[in-house]
C-alpha cells in the first residue's frame, strides 16, 4: 500500500438544497448553493493552487494564490472566498493569473529558508508543491531583505516542533485550533510583516492552553509545525487506515509508516466519527506499542510468590487448559470464568464469551463495561428496547439544546467535545449537570446557559424534578407520547407528586429550584434537544434508574427518533459498545438476547455443538465474592487491569489471592498480573485485525499495520485455550469470526469485513432492513414497540458524608491520560499529567490547612491512599475529585463495594472520605 493522500477540496462542503451550475475552464459542474468556486473546481477535477485554504476550515482568502477570472467580475477574485452563482463562467488558468500566482510565490519564498533538501517536510510540503505548480523559477527580490529566518524553534511540546522561521503566516494552525478544536490556544501576534503565529500569550506551546490535539500540525502546509517523529524518522511512505484504540469516539486514523515503523497517526477525513480531527491520545500517544516494557513472551508460575518463567506458547496454553479443566473437575463447571476487555476487538471479545459458554460450559463471562456502562444497557433496554445510544455523533450538529449529565467530553471524549463546542459556537444552548465546573461550563467562546451543580449521588432526584417540571408546566409532547409510548399515565401521576418538585428536591440536589426550572424549560421547549451522558450517570447506586429517568424525560418531550435529539451514552473505552454487543454479559448472548431464550440458545447450540447453560453466570463483583467464598477458582482476564480499575482494591486482591489460576492477557505486566499464574502477552491495536464499535454503534475496521509482535493474535490464543480444554474452536482469520457474529446475530447480519472495507463503517442494526446501517434509532417506532415510561424513585445512596468522612470523593479522567494509564503513561503524554492529583475547593483546603501541591492522606471507610492536592475553583465545596490513571495513587483503594442495584456497576462517583495534610510542599516548590 502506498501513502494515502486525501483530496483537499479547499473549502468545506455546503449542504444548501438548491444546486447551481457553473462552468469552470469549459467544464460544467452542479454544486450546492454556497459552494466556493475553488471547491466546485476541485469537484470537477480542476485543482486551483492554494495555501491558506483547506477543506476543514472556513475560507480565509489570505494567500491570494487561488485567484481566478470570472466573466463579468472586475479583477481576480479569490476562488476560495467566492461562492458560485448560477451560470457563472470561471477560468482558472490564464497567463495573467499565472503571473499573479508566480508573484505571490516569489514573495513567499523571499522570506523562507532555502533548505528544501534537508527539510523534514521535503516531499510533503504544500509550499514546495505550489512553487512547482506555479512554475516559480527565480526570486528577484533576492534573499537579503527583511525576513524571519532567525526566529527560534519551540520544542516544548513532546510530540511536535514549531519552527517559526518556516511559517508563511497562513493562519491555518490558528484557525484549526479555533474552528476545529475549539481551544483557541493560537493567535497571530503583531501585524503586517511582523505577523507571526504565537501560542497563548506569546510564550511556548506548553505554557499555552494547547491541548496537543494535533489539528495545527495537521493544518500546517509547511514544516513549521511538524511531528518530531517525522523529523527523526523521515516522511512516511505508506498508510493503513485503522481505528483509534482509546476512547469511545472511535476516530479513524491513517497510520503512516516508513517500512514497518509507524511514523505518525494522521486523523482520516473520511472517518465518520471524527471527520479528520483527533486528540492528543489518538494522534500522538501510540508509542506504548513499541515500549520496551511490552512483554512479548508468555510466562507461567506455580504460585504468585514464584518468579515468572518465560515459556513457549504451547506450554503456556497447555498449562491454562489443563489447570482450568482440573479446577472444574474438582469444583464444578461453574468454578471458572472469564472477563473480556472493552479495549479488544469485537472478534477478540466474541471468542472469549464463546470460550466461556462453549468450552467452560457456563455463563461466567463479564466485561469491563460492568464497571462503566452496564446501567446504560439495562436502562435503555427497559425503556426503549435496545442497549445503546440513539444517535450518531453528527446528530449533535442539529441539536438546539444539549443537556450534558455526568460527562466531561473535552477531557474524556475530546474529538466529540470539539464537535459540541463548535455547535455551541453556532448558537446551540448548553445545560451541564455536573458537580464540577467542567470546561464546557465556561471556556473561551462558549458558555453553558445553565450549570446544575448536582450533589454526587442525587442524579435521580434531579432528573425526576426535571420531568416534574415538564409534566406540571404543560411541556409534554402529548402527540408523541400518545402515539409512541406506554405506561405514561401512571408515570405522570407518579412524577407529578409534589415530592419531585424542584423546590422539594432543592435541599437534596443542591440545585436552586428556579435554576432547575429554567433549565428544564430550555430543554423542553427546544426544537431539538439531546441528552449526552457519561459515567457520572452510570457509576452510582441508582445508575440504571438514572438512565431510565433520562429516557423518560426525552420521551415526554418528544426528543427521540430524529436528528438532533436522543439519549446518548459517551462510552469510556474504545469498544465498550462492541464488547457489550458481543454477548459479554453473563445473562446475555450476542445481540443482548437473554440466555434463557431457548430459540436463541438453540441457534448457538447448533452452531457451536454444545449445550448452553440457560441460567445467568457471575458478574465481575460476584466473581470476587464467589472467589472469597471458595466457589470460584479460575479466571481468564483479557486486557483489563482489574486490580487498578475495579473498586475496593483490597477486596479484589483478596479475591484474586484466593484463586487457583489467574490468567492475564495484556500488553504489559500490570497490577493484576501480580496475582496471576499465567501471563499471555497481548497485541496492541496496531497489530490487531478486526473491528471496534464506538459509542454511536459505529462498527469501524481495525487494520493491522504490523504482524503481532507476540507471534499470535489474541483470538488465536483464546481459540487454542478452548482447544486445549477439548473444545474445537478454530478460525482461519478474524473475518470468519465476524461472519459468525453476522450469522448468529440479527442486528449484525449485514456486517462483514468486505462490506466495511467497501463503505468504511456502518452503524448497527445493519441487516436486510437497514443495509447501510442505522445512524438514528427509533425513528418510526421504538425497538421494543412502544417506549415505556418507568417510575424512577429516588433512593439516597447509603454512602453519605459523616463526621469522620465529611467529604465526597468522585473520580474521573483527564485529557492526556486514559483509564488505568497502561498505555498513556508509556508515552509523552505524561508530560501533562505525571501523577494523579486530588482536586479540592479552596475552602475545603483552607479549613484543613492544605495548600496547593501539599501531600495529603485520602481515607474512606475501606482504605487510605496518599496523593498531592490541586486547589481548584471548579470543585464545589464538600466534593473532591481525582483520577485513577496511576497505580501508585491507587484511587480505588478508597472506593467501596456499593454498586448499582440493577447491574452492580460500582458507585465510583460517591465515596465518603476525609482528607488530611500529610506533608506540606517544600516552600521552594510552592512558587511556580
Amino acid at each position: 500500500m502506498t501513502l494515502i493522500k486525501e483530496q483537499d477540496y479547499g473549502t468545506p462542503a455546503r449542504s444548501g438544497e438548491a444546486t447551481v451550475s457553473v462552468e469552470i475552464d469549459g467544464k460544467t459542474v452542479l454544486v450546492p448553493e454556497g459552494t466556493s468556486v475553488m471547491r466546485a473546481a476541485a469537484e470537477c477535477g480542476i485543482d486551483i493552487p492554494k495555501l491558506c485554504a483547506t477543506d476543514n476550515l472556513e475560507p480565509f482568502g489570505s494567500c491570494r494564490l487561488c485567484l481566478v477570472d470570472i466573466d463579468g467580475r472586475k479583477g481576480s477574485p479569490a476562488s476560495c472566498t467566492t461562492p458560485v452563482a448560477d451560470g457563472m463562467k470561471v477560468r482558472t488558468q490564464t497567463p495573467e493569473l499565472a503571473e499573479l500566482r508566480r508573484g505571490v510565490m516569489e514573495l513567499y519564498i523571499s522570506d523562507h529558508p532555502l533548505d528544501c533538501l534537508t527539510c523534514p517536510a521535503n516531499g510533503g510540503c504544500e509550499l514546495q508543491d505550489m512553487a512547482g505548480v506555479v512554475g516559480l523559477r527565480e526570486v528577484r527580490y533576492g534573499f537579503d531583505g527583511e525576513n524571519h529566518l532567525d526566529l527560534p524553534t519551540d520544542s516544548t511540546n513532546p510530540y511536535f516542533d514549531f519552527d517559526a522561521s518556516k511559517c508563511i503566516a497562513c493562519s491555518r494552525c490558528v484557525r484549526a485550533c479555533g474552528e476545529v478544536q475549539g481551544t483557541f490556544a493560537l493567535t497571530i501576534e503583531g501585524r503586517g510583516f511582523d505577523s507571526k503565529v504565537a501560542a497563548g500569550a506569546g510564550g511556548t506551546f506548553m505554557e499555552s492552553e494547547c491541548v496537543s490535539c494535533g489539528a495545527c500540525v495537521q493544518a500546517c502546509p509547511t514544516s513549521t509545525l511538524q511531528e518530531r517523529s517525522v523529523v527523526q524518522l523521515g516522511m512516511p511512505t505508506r498508510s493503513v487506515i485503522t481505528t483509534c484504540a482509546y476512547c469511545g469516539v472511535g476516530c479513524s486514523f491513517k497510520a503512516e509508516l516508513r517500512g514497518d515503523e509507524v511514523v505518525r497517526m494522521v486523523p482520516y477525513k473520511d472517518g465518520k466519527a471524527n471527520e479528520g480531527h483527533s486528540c492528543v491520545k489518538g494522534r500522538f500517544a501510540f508509542g506504548y506499542a513499541s515500549h520496551p516494557d511490552r512483554q512479548l513472551k508468555p510466562m507461567v508460575r506455580e504460585r504468585i510468590t514464584d518468579p515468572w518463567r518465560e515459556v513457549e506458547w504451547e506450554e503456556a496454553i497447555g498449562y491454562v487448559g489443563s489447570r482450568m479443566l482440573d479446577i472444574q473437575a474438582r469444583h464444578g463447571a461453574g468454578a471458572i470464568g472469564g472477563i473480556s476487555s472493552s479495549r479488544c476487538t469485537n472478534e477478540e471479545v466474541y471468542v472469549v464469551q464463546k470460550m466461556v459458554r462453549a468450552a467452560f460450559g457456563n455463563n461466567n463471562v463479564d466485561t469491563c463495561a460492568r464497571v462503566c456502562h452496564s446501567p446504560t444497557g439495562y436502562g435503555l433496554k427497559q425503556t426503549y428496547g435496545t442497549s445503546a445510544g440513539t444517535q450518531d455523533f453528527k446528530s449533535v450538529d442539529k441539536a438546539d439544546v444539549i443537556l450534558i449529565i455526568g460527562a466531561n467530553p473535552t477531557d474524556a471524549h475530546p474529538v466529540f467535545g470539539s464537535r459540541i463546542k463548535r455547535r455551541l459556537r453556532q448558537g446551540a444552548k448548553l445545560i451541564v449537570a455536573d458537580p464540577r465546573k467542567i470546561d464546557l461550563v465556561r471556556s473561551p467562546h462558549i458558555q453553558a446557559e445553565h450549570h446544575l451543580p448536582v450533589r454526587p449521588g442525587t442524579n435521580v432526584a434531579l432528573i425526576n424534578a426535571m420531568s416534574h417540571v415538564v409534566v406540571t408546566e404543560g411541556l409534554v409532547d402529548r402527540e408523541f407520547v400518545e402515539e409512541r409510548c406506554e405506561d405514561f399515565a401512571e408515570w405522570e401521576r407518579f412524577i407529578s407528586a409534589p415530592e419531585h418538585s424542584p423546590e422539594a428536591v432543592e435541599s437534596i440536589t443542591g440545585i436552586p429550584a428556579a435554576e432547575l426550572r429554567a433549565a428544564t424549560r430550555l430543554y423542553a421547549s427546544a426544537r431539538n434537544a439531546t441528552i449526552m451522558y457519561g459515567l457520572g450517570v452510570t457509576e452510582h447506586s441508582q445508575g440504571s434508574t438514572m438512565v431510565m429517568g433520562m429516557a423518560n424525560l426525552a420521551m415526554a418531550t418528544g426528543n427521540i427518533g430524529r436528528e438532533g435529539v436522543g439519549v446518548n451514552p459517551l462510552r469510556g473505552q474504545n469498544n465498550v459498545q462492541g464488547s457489550c454487543d458481543m454477548g459479554s454479559f453473563p445473562h446475555e448472548l450476542p445481540g443482548y438476547r437473554h440466555v434463557s431464550d431457548e430459540v436463541v440458545r438453540g441457534t448457538f447450540e447448533t452452531l457451536w455443538g454444545r449445550v448452553l447453560d440457560p441460567e445467568p453466570g457471575l458478574r465481575i463483583p460476584n466473581m470476587f465474592d464467589a472467589a472469597i467464598d471458595g466457589t470460584f477458582r479460575g479466571l481468564f482476564v483479557q486486557g483489563e487491569d482489574i486490580v487498578q480499575s475495579d473498586p475496593n482494591t483490597q477486596h479484589v486482591t483478596a479475591a484474586l489471592s484466593s484463586m487457583e489460576l489467574v490468567v492475564v492477557q495484556d500488553l504489559f505486566l500490570n497490577e493484576t498480573s501480580k496475582y496471576a499464574h499465567v501471563f499471555l502477552p497481548g497485541t496492541s491495536f496496531l497489530e490487531k485485525n478486526g473491528t471496534f464499535t464506538n459509542a454511536e454503534r459505529r462498527i469501524n475496521r481495525v487494520r493491522p499495520v504490523m504482524a503481532p509482535r507476540t507471534g499470535k493474535h489474541e483470538w488465536e490464543i483464546v481459540c487454542e485455550i478452548a482447544q486445549a480444554m477439548g473444545y474445537p474452536m478454530k478460525y482461519d482469520d478474524s473475518a470468519q469470526i465476524m461472519d459468525e457474529i453476522a450469522f448468529t446475530t440479527p442486528t449484525f447480519s449485514g456486517v462483514s469485513f468486505a462490506k466495511l472495507d467497501q463503505v468504511g463503517s456502518v452503524q448497527w442494526p445493519c441487516n436486510d432492513a437497514a443495509p447501510e446501517g442505522t445512524p438514528i434509532m427509533h425513528i418510526d417506532g421504538f425497538v421494543r414497540g412502544r417506549g415505556r415510561f418507568v417510575q424512577t424513585d429516588y433512593v439516597p445512596t447509603q454512602e453519605r458524608s459523616t463526621r469522620k468522612f465529611p467529604l465526597i470523593l468522585t473520580t474521573g479522567r483527564i485529557l492526556s491520560q486514559y483509564n488505568v494509564g497502561a498505555q498513556t503513561r508509556r508515552t509523552g503524554n505524561s508530560a501533562w499529567h505525571p501523577e494523579d492529583m486530588l482536586e479540592m475547593h479552596p475552602h475545603d483546603a483552607e479549613v484543613r490547612g492544605i495548600r496547593d501541591g501539599d501531600t495529603v492522606a485520602l481515607a474512606s471507610r475501606v482504605g487510605e491512599t496518599t496523593l498531592r492536592v490541586k486547589i481548584a475553583e471548579r470543585m464545589p465545596v464538600g466534593v473532591v475529585y481525582t483520577t485513577f490513571h496511576h497505580p501508585v495513587t491507587g484511587a480505588n483503594v478508597v472506593t467501596t463495594e456499593n454498586s448499582d442495584w440493577a447491574t452492580n456497576c460500582p458507585e465510583y462517583k460517591v465515596t465518603a472520605v476525609q482528607v488530611s495534610l500529610k506533608h506540606p510542599t517544600p516552600a521552594a516548590a510552592v512558587v511556580r
Partner: protein, 123 residues
C-alpha cells in the same frame, strides 16, 4: 477596543477570563493595536505626525529634532521615564501642520522652536 493605555502581560489571563476569551485571543488583539503597549509608557507621550500632509511642511525635521533632543528613537521612552516618543500617521490637523500631540493635547503649526518648547515642558 476601549482605551486601555497599556496591557501588562500579567493581566492577559485575567482579561481573557473576564471576556471568556483565550489568552491567545487577547494577546493577538493586544499586539495588533499600536495603542496597546505591553510595557508602561513614559509619563508623557509625544506623538509627531509623519503622514504626508505634515511631511509637506517639515515633519521629517521635527522627528529628527525630537530624537536628538530626547536621545531616543521612535517608540522608545527616555531613560528617566518622562517621555515616550512616537510617530503617528495623521492627527486630522492637515491644513495647519506640522502637528504634534502631547498627551491628549494637539498642537498645530509646530516649528522647531515650538517643538523645543513642548519637549521642554514635558521633560
Amino acid at each position: 477596543m476601549e482605551d486601555l493605555g497599556h496591557v501588562d502581560p500579567a493581566a492577559i489571563p485575567i482579561l481573557a477570563d473576564e471576556l471568556n476569551l483565550s489568552k491567545a485571543d487577547v494577546h493577538g488583539v493586544v499586539t495588533f493595536y499600536h495603542d496597546f503597549r505591553q510595557s508602561a509608557p513614559g509619563r508623557t507621550t509625544v506623538r509627531i505626525c509623519r503622514a504626508e500632509a505634515c511631511q509637506s511642511v517639515g515633519a521629517a525635521g521635527l522627528v529628527e529634532q525630537a530624537k536628538n533632543r530626547l536621545g531616543v528613537g521612535l517608540g522608545e521612552t527616555t531613560p528617566d521615564g518622562s517621555v515616550t516618543l512616537e510617530q503617528v500617521f495623521c492627527l486630522g490637523n492637515c491644513a495647519i501642520g506640522p502637528s504634534v500631540q502631547v498627551g491628549d493635547r494637539l498642537y498645530g503649526r509646530v516649528g522647531p522652536q515650538e517643538l523645543d518648547r513642548l519637549l521642554e515642558v514635558t521633560a
